[in-house]
Symmetry: C2
Subunit: 337 residues, 2 copies
Amino acid sequence: MGGAAGSGEPGESGADARTAGEVLAGYLHRQSADFLRSLRLHRESGSDAQGAGEAAALLRSAARRISATLYTFQPLTDEAWADQLRAELGWLAGALAREHACAARRDRLMAALQRLTTPPANAPAADLDAESALSAGAARAGALLDRQLTLARTRAHSAALQALGSSRFHAVADSVAVLASEAPLTHATADVPAAEALPQLAEQAHRRLTEAVTALPLSRAGHPYNADALAADHRQDAPWHQARMLVRLSRYAQEVIAPGYDDPRLADAGRALERHRDAAEAAAAASAAARTPRIAPATAYALGVLHADQRHEVEAARFTFGRVWLSHARGGGRYDR
Amino acid sequence: MGGAAGSGEPGESGADARTAGEVLAGYLHRQSADFLRSLRLHRESGSDAQGAGEAAALLRSAARRISATLYTFQPLTDEAWADQLRAELGWLAGALAREHACAARRDRLMAALQRLTTPPANAPAADLDAESALSAGAARAGALLDRQLTLARTRAHSAALQALGSSRFHAVADSVAVLASEAPLTHATADVPAAEALPQLAEQAHRRLTEAVTALPLSRAGHPYNADALAADHRQDAPWHQARMLVRLSRYAQEVIAPGYDDPRLADAGRALERHRDAAEAAAAASAAARTPRIAPATAYALGVLHADQRHEVEAARFTFGRVWLSHARGGGRYDR
């Protein structure tokens, strides 16, 4: 690696002078270093739960970026090696993500219950009768969800620790370490200028996203209060989840070719789709809790309200995503929420 | 009454040449005739439930218009007489409205349950497990609501028949019949030109509406998915219900001074606020049904979903009302939904 790339912080025009191999190897090298550093931080965190959580988040972030890069720039990599590593990184990220997801889901549902049972500031003080049914049920629903999600989180925590101590994990870490020194790229990439090979593949990733978004019912989602997401069926969520992953691939591909730049539209779109996913999973957790045997009707009622509330969050996130996406398509105007 | 007013269908400019007394008396005369005709239709409907329902709707419509006119144009009427009649018309309209409201509420809730349990057209057919909890509960919730609202409707029907047979009602009908021949107006109105006295009072009614709407949290309601209406407290609905009544007063006042013209904005605003009221009452019915002793948790869960769904309809109606209202304030642009 020569010139600007050697600094580890190449400027936006730095890619032009380098080969595709140098740019890819540089990016994978940095992610590999982050991966190994976060692993060390995680080991050293001991009983510091927050430190361990941050280290795990960094580890997942690096794993996602490595995996995405190997996928998007596949024609330039040793395909068999890359596919194998991607599968293992997927396993690892899944094992590490669950604990965080359980904690976030619990927080989201507790906040929603709080919001649903807090009277608006301008409400008169009398006549709380009609509300008390929800309030009583909400307290019990909250306790039930807290219990279930805390248990799930504890289990996920053990599973993550077990994964990190497994020989399977050590093999993944070894493969990632290889990326730091010699990224498994095809010989051809050593000679092709970066500006010739990389933008084209990043563009392809973006095109896959654009095509997936075109297939989404965006015009319907653009009508506020269309009540689509509350319909009984959550399988309609799948194409939106798919779009979330494609947004991520597109963002990480941009990171490779223009390190300093984060497209605000893609960032906003990604956030909306993450909110979509979080709300959908929280709704499913409320629904699952309602199937707990022998709960009181008031508890079930509160869980029904909560389920519908989170499904409306799903609908709201689709609306937001549509605004973000279409505001750009129309030439980058502003958008609400 | 002379000139155009004698035809019963004065043109928009007809009011100009007549006195305030002539115009008011003419309007009250027509409403009184509608009232008495619908009363006859109701008596003749016998076992024709649909005919009876239509007659009752016409009766209520005439009662509302008479009452609104006596209120808005109060300075021109015999106040004590008008106040007494308005109180009695309020009692009558309330007694007659309940049966229709129960039927409409039942239909609204059944339609919502149907919508909530019907998978979207594009959904795959497998894996219905997660849904079956809601579906089972929804069927039982539907049966419970059907039972409760049909019972309430039957009671309201008996109460309405009892009201129509009471001596109190006969006194109301006698007072309304008086309007057909000699409306109790102040002597001064006989001499004042209609164009001088009436628009000013109609404008006052409109100003009361405008002031009430200004106090509504319209800018908040204009943000889709603000989740305001789902908060635990339904007392925040009151100012919106008040606005609904003021829209009606403003519309009926316009009817008096410009019979052929129905302001489309007021009509749309009124429809949005009627949907607001209907959804709020349906949500309350779902919530009340959930407090039925010994219901199954699955039933309570479905009622919770239904409650939240209708409260989101409340939120959506506020959003629509805001669009309608503000689109006009900005100079009459278009608005969605």
